[in-house]
Amino acid sequence: MEKTVNQKAWFLVLPVLLLVAFSAVIPLMTVVNYSVQDTFGNNQFFWAGLEWFEEMLRSERMWDALGRQLMFSGIILAIEIPLGIFVALNMPKSGFWSSFCLVLMSLPLLIPWNVVGTIWQIFGRVDIGLLGYTLDALGINYNYTQDILAAWVTIIVMDVWHWTSLVALLAFAGLKSIPDAYYQAAKIDQASRWKVFRFIELPKMMGVLMIAILLRFMDSFMIYTEPFVVTGGGPGNATTLLSIDLVKMALGQFDLGPAAAFSIMYFLVILLISWVFYTVMTNLEKREG
């Protein structure tokens, strides 16, 4: 077919270009702009080159925050994924109770993040919180504002409470898509419950589980609101995760240059890890499919 050449067609993509420019490119460029300049106030900026990036890479503070962040994401993934699968496996498969469970489990997902933080902040307080008060009454020394372990346990349990449902719902959807014949064949083959899980359910759930892992990783890696509301990053810097640290640096200390360099590296790390996940996922599918 003969193709018509008409350069005016460029105007058709202009609205999208403008939209993307204002929503993503321009804000991002501001950050890039800050990251390569220095200021001493009066709105006067000086070229700083890659100085901020070098400083940030040498900064122990950032590496510590990154370490805490990886630990947080690792722990919640290690709990939420198996727990979500376990919940999905034990849910009623159909009927009223199935719908009931689905609705019940969706509830935490519908609560705004800062409300989740507030709920747990109050829940864990030793003076008025049900959890904190009970633990204290039982003689367990629990105080998330002073004890590092208690603070970590609190934010992890909170995240598990908030997000395990998502994993469970995805896993449940994967389980529902398995035809009955597979279970019947397994019965005839005398497969044990473990083998049914290992050779039928798990392979069939793999696709949705990968999505669940990716979603939960990205989300937990960027988490800010909930731990900030509960612990404010404390005690000390014990629960200062990457984004909490970033906000402290940018808005607390008004170190715009380092904060901008930090954001760009933060963004690149997330991009890199997501890309690795995505590649591994698609390769797995290709190899098996």
Binding site: Q184, I188, A191, P203, E288, G289
Partner: protein, 378 residues
């Protein structure tokens, strides 16, 4: 291998079945002879899969017993019955290799590896997949997967019966024929009791020694393909089997004549007066178009299907099909039809009625229906 006996078996999916209509599978007594190949034939929803699942133990019947070689297994779980089942679409363990798939039932039963390896080789040779043993099952074609599930069934030597639940539904047409031939060969070589559920009459008639035709939760006839063709016990069998199916024509029977709208058709046998809905059934193969003799018809269309011609005609306001040979000449003035008197069956309330031979028959006419299952309408 074993003889499978169904004793007073019936099943309803409702917790408290009341009337007969509540039963997906109506009361049934039958012996499945050891080593025979059966086909369970019927349209969708007639209860054939229900029956199969009861035999395999995936469903427990609401009443009656099921015995393997005389041993009651009605409440035994699937695993204890030692049966194998091939499902409508292929069930394979995707992440395993073909070898591990075939070995799976043996390993689950704790057989030692040397025996497993030997058996898997044997089965792979039987189903023609020796060169694929190292491959992952996931990437295989539907027919290869179906062969694996068949092989998984046969890998156990002590398997009592092989059950097939419409196994060729998702297979490409040219592979269907090959797989069916292979199945028949395996049955011939190893003599497993096989029960094959299908709604495809060609599949049923080519595969089975005996075809069990089901209709509306009831077994209406059990017989060889020949019997089903020549003496359908129920009008359903008549029009379900055959292409096109049997012509069923409302008639009034008087002795050895069947009256259709005032004209009559000769019958080979005499019948005593019949009550209820009375029909005669004639297969298109035994009807003949003629210029001079027989009853009037109006030919509407002639279809040449290659081997023969199918004449679609109108017969006293209802449809009738007639099969003529490929070389038979059909002219415009052929507007009468005759039937082969020996091939005309008489039905009362859908069940075939036996007549008495015309000459010197017993004085007591035998009109009892003879189909092995209770007649719903007496």
């Amino acid at each position: 291998m074993a003889k499978i006996t169904l004793d007073n078996l019936a099943h309803s999916y409702l917790p408290n079945p009341g009337s007969e209509d509540d039963f997906a599978l109506k009361e049934l007594n039958h012996d499945w002879t050891d080593g025979e190949a059966y086909a369970l034939l019927g349209s969708s929803g007639c209860g054939k899969s229900t029956l199969l699942n009861i035999i395999s133990g995936l469903l427990h019947p609401s009443q009656g017993r099921i015995l393997f070689d005389g041993k009651d297994v009605t409440h035994a779980p699937t695993a204890e019955r030692n049966i194998a089942q091939v499902f409508q679409f292929p069930v394979v363990y995707d992440t395993m290799t073909v070898h591990d798939n075939l070995a799976f039932p043996l390993r689950n039963r704790g057989r030692d590896e040397s025996y497993v390896a030997e058996r898997v080789q044997e089965i792979a040779r039987m189903i023609g997949m020796e060169d694929m043993l190292r491959k992952k099952a996931r990437g295989l074609t539907a027919d290869a997967k179906q062969k694996i599930s068949l092989g998984r069934g046969m890998v156990r030597k002590d398997v009592n019966a092989l059950l097939f639940d419409e196994p060729l539904t998702v297979i490409d047409p040219h592979m269907k024929w090959e797989l069916r031939t292979q199945l028949k060969q395996l049955h011939h070589d190893f003599g497993h009791t096989m029960i094959y559920v299908t709604h495809d009459q060609t599949e049923a008639l080519t595969f089975a020694d005996k075809v069990v035709v089901m209709y509306d939760g009831r077994v209406v006839q059990i017989g060889t393909p020949e019997e089903l063709f020549e003496r359908p016990e129920h009008t359903f069998v008549g029009y379900f089997i055959g292409s096109p199916g049997m012509n069923v024509i409302p008639a009034r029977i008087d002795g050895n004549k069947a009256y259709v709208n005032g004209s009559y058709v000769e019958l080979a046998q005499g019948y005593k007066p019949l009550d209820g809905k009375v029909e005669i059934g004639v297969r298109p193969e035994f009807a003949r178009l003629s210029q001079s003799e027989g009853l009037p018809v109006k030919v509407r269309r002639v279809e040449d299907v290659g081997r023969h011609k199918i004449i679609r005609a109108e017969f006293f306001g209802s449809d009738i099909n007639i099969i003529a040979g490929e070389d038979d000449h059909i002219s415009a003035d052929m507007n009468r039809v005759t039937f082969d008197a020996n091939r005309v069956n008489v039905y009362a309330n859908d069940w075939r009625v036996n007549g008495r031979p015309r000459d010197g028959g017993p004085s007591d006419p035998d009109t009892a229906t003879d189909h092995g299952t209770p007649d719903p309408n007496g």
